[in-house]
């Protein structure tokens, strides 16, 4: 599934520069250790974390995009780093649970 299609269907806000990507599955965790060991390339990564380290981890595991849930405010330095490394950061006021349910409803499956 294309990232822009998911952004439209879930009404996500893009905080960083946007480019089209293929999305293959979803990974949910707030621990970088989990992401580094469990996330697959092309995954959408759902988290409440906003630290600059999410850019490092998302880039390394080749995540399609990071969705920051619960309306958490993402610091400017995280967004600047994401733009430097072409990591896409999206935001939603919905909870991680609600987002997961909506992603399943539009046909995305875990991993």
């Amino acid at each position: 599934m294309k990232l822009k299609e998911i952004i439209d269907k879930l009404a996500l806000t893009s905080l960083s520069n946007l480019e089209e990507r293929d999305v293959q599955g979803v990974f949910i965790s707030d621990m970088l250790s989990d992401v580094m060991t469990g996330a697959k390339p092309g995954n959408l990564w759902l988290t409440v974390q906003t630290h600059t380290n999410i850019v490092s981890a998302a880039n390394l595991v080749d995540a399609a995009a990071v969705i920051v849930s619960h309306g958490k405010k993402v610091p400017e330095n995280t967004i600047a780093l994401a733009n430097r490394y072409h990591v896409i950061i999206l935001s939603s006021t919905k909870s991680t649970f609600e987002l997961a349910a909506e992603l399943i409803a539009i046909g995305l499956k875990n991993q």
Binding site: R21, S33, K40, G42, H51, S56, N59, L60, D62, Y85
Partner: protein, 180 residues
Amino acid sequence: MPKTSCRHTWEMINIHYGFIVTEKCYTCEKISTYYSFEDRPPLDEYREGEHFWNVMESAQSFRFDFKCRACGQIVPFDELMGLMMCTGCDEECQVEKLQKKHAAERTWIYVAFGFLPTDEHRQLSREKISILEDFFNQRRKSSTSRIKIVSQELVKKYATCFGEVIKDVDMLSLKPSEGK
């Protein structure tokens, strides 16, 4: 490591969660890091010979080894403390220079860190850094970008470097969600 004709395809095995503990001796200011597999990282100060160690930071992280899916070769990675992405904090740093050189082709530079002090711990060999790089690039099927991993020797000054090792520390947000 023995030479082989196998074109290795690496997978992570033996994944163990634990803590990277950073401590400092308050008499000589020496900094030391080590990996703890305990459920809770140690907090107490202690004396070791002439050193009086105080814990500066404990961060959750993980350790692993690599295994080749084709030939079964296992390569332990217990020298690796963590990986750090360059944030471009110092234009004179070799890592930043490399990042600028490769940015247009979307090759991203990460620094592989070993444990401190570097002269007391075995550090990652070039061969192992190459394996680490191969692992992350072999999985990048959905992207046109590449990962390049370099040795910590290229960091100009570790003490003033703003790059952050990927680990679970300082991750708590003190701000409530917007509008709540």
